[in-house]
Amino acid sequence: MKKLKLFTSGIALCAASMAFANDDLIAQMDDPGQWAIQTGDYKNQRFSQLDQINAENVGDLQVAWTFSTGVLRGHEGSPLVIGDVMYVHTPFPNIVYALDLKNEGKIIWKYEPKQDPDVIPVMCCDTVNRGVAYADGKIFLHQADTKVVALNAETGAVEWEAQNGDPAIGETNTATVLPIKDKVIVGISGGEFGVRGHTTAYDMATGEQVWRAYSMGPDSDILADPEKTTHLGQPVGADSGTNTWEGDQWMIGGGTTWGWYSADLDENLFYYGTGNPSTWNPAQRPGDNRWSMTVMARDIDTGMAKWFYQMTPHDEWDYDGVNEMILSEQEIDGTERKLLTHFDRNGLAYTMDRVSGELLVAEKFDPVVNWTTGVDMDPASDTYGRPAVVAQYSTAQNGEDVNTTGVCPAALGTKDQQPAAYSPETQMFYVPTNHVCMDYEPFRVSYTAGQPYVGATLSMYPAPDSHGGMGNFIAWDNINGEIKWSIPEKFSVWSGALATAGDIVFYGTLEGHLKAVHAETGEELYRFKTPSGIIGNVMTYTSDGRQYVGILSGVGGWAGIGLAAGLTNPNDGLGAVGGYAALSDYTALGGQLTVFALPN
């Protein structure tokens, strides 16, 4: 009955005053029986206090119920649970279902937007969507065509709509939104179409645009203060979003914002990362290309930047910086600090002070990472905070029309968007990773609005001289910058992890397994093969006092493109062609939610 009360009170609050909208969502997030936001909480920890299912009994887990989404493409993200209602989303056409958990998952309402199918081919790498958000009695859906829709959580009725971007110039959306205070903060996709990335806040009650912060451009566009906005402790200065670009290239400069967002209400800051600069051919965009590839800390109310940190200046490998920023409070050298931990596509895991933007740790989280020897950690150095690039693996130094071989990681990164989890109990991060390397050849491209703007060809293959698989699931110590344990996987791990107070960590595999491992040791405790490959994120909730674990299956996304037919290593010679596992030998399309529980 507790959940029902919370839900009712949420509705009452929203009717009373907007100022309480955020209190409602915070109450839902603080209740471990709910799964109120895609990221678990504002810290993006993906940690649940629930321990009914634990290391002792998880081996007995059974399927409790299932639900077909009716859609075949790649299913990222997860359902939400608010009160006794579960909200399930799908890839394009972005259907939302409200399911009654008190009535065997009966469909309370279904919302299916009308979208122009022309948006489909403008979406790089499948038509995924990473889920809906809840606040203030509303469900927020950010559609593929960049329309942001607020639905009445009880009825599914549209309360407002806002058009965030223009698919005709390649602007699309795959991400969820961040509902915070009286705003809904949203990003944009399209880095492979020459889109200039932006992050935008809408009024939660009306859908009116409040502010927009571009990733590059004049100071008034990027919402940076030349004196107060800092990069590694120094003011960024005037025109920081244009003065590391040549000519007008910044106008089609990329730096899109399609990852997960976290927030610290006490600091009034939210955090996200920006993607690759456009094009993939570095020769066409000399300079550091700020502020692509950047960790951003911005004010929730105004969008003004407090600090930036550019991880990969002048990207040469498509190492988007969009992965989630996980917030934690931990002791370093005897002092408790407010930290931000980020596992970047470039293969480095960064630990930062999230208040000041100070860089504390930057270490490789896969030993095969070879494009850099590491980050300069000396604040007195001219190259402080910059990664030292290894000439052999520099596609910029090797130049246009030269095939740079053996670069680790591949463009999909040591980790892509699939979110990691953090357990405050073990103080370890549980990270789904890719173990894939590449050859990369940049060449000249011309820009046409709404058309792919890539400019490089690449071949990807499992990391050479390793276990032969394309992924690992690792436990990471963010203070010492060390891998604690690593589980080799046949395919990239493309599923978001969940850690719980039951000493277990869940994740999914591309073959379709839901796995549970021990949080301390990584020992496998349970596996079940769901109907299709998993690229969704594990979530948990309670209903009538019973703990459930839910996961979306439905193979697709980048993984479904690159791995469907298997990878080949062109450097291995003909004998190895076809020698690597093909995902299509293990799984086929199919969108399904599988919910697990212990036997009654």
Binding site: L72, R73, G74, F92, P93, P117, D118, I120, P121, V122, C124, C125, D126, T127, E192, W280, N403, D439, E441, F443, R444, V445, S446, T448, Q451, P452, Y453, V454, G455, A456, T457, L458, S459, M460, V555, G556, G560, I561, G562, A564, A565, G566, L567, T568, N569, P570, L574, V577, G578, L583, S584, L589
Partner: protein, 169 residues
Amino acid sequence: MNIKHCTIALGLAVGLPMTALAESQVDPAIYEVAESEDGRHYTEDGTPTFNIAEDGTVDWLTFSGFRRYHAECHVCHGPDGEGSTYAPAVKNSAIDLGYDQFFEVVVNGRENGNSVMPHFGDNRNVMCYLDDIYVYLKARGLDAVPRGRPAKKEAKSDVIREDEDACMG
């Protein structure tokens, strides 16, 4: 000469999954080189085609097609034209559709429910390399070139370079 090339290609195809069409099942007229000019190769009816030497050296267009395919097309159609979880293996399309229809679909796109091929008619990164992509996929569809990056290639001819510069602007 071309008959010999095909024999080598067939030899390479042994042991690979039979998702590609074997050349023996296909009328040689659709791929055999009848005419060559300035590094470009054509069949009897004037359709662009690939040319692969005995040592595996591919003509420039086939190599260029590999490159452009893996920039513009592979994000849907997968590496080496092998298809993805949602888009077809286009290595077969170059043969099934024929040159004219292949050209028409790439320029104008087509739609079948939620399966949508975009139109590339105004994209110079595709249109300036349409013959390149076509001959590459035709070679892939016939297993005349293996998966992956062609190991050896002919140099780009002056005429091809001039045409490319003129097209890309």
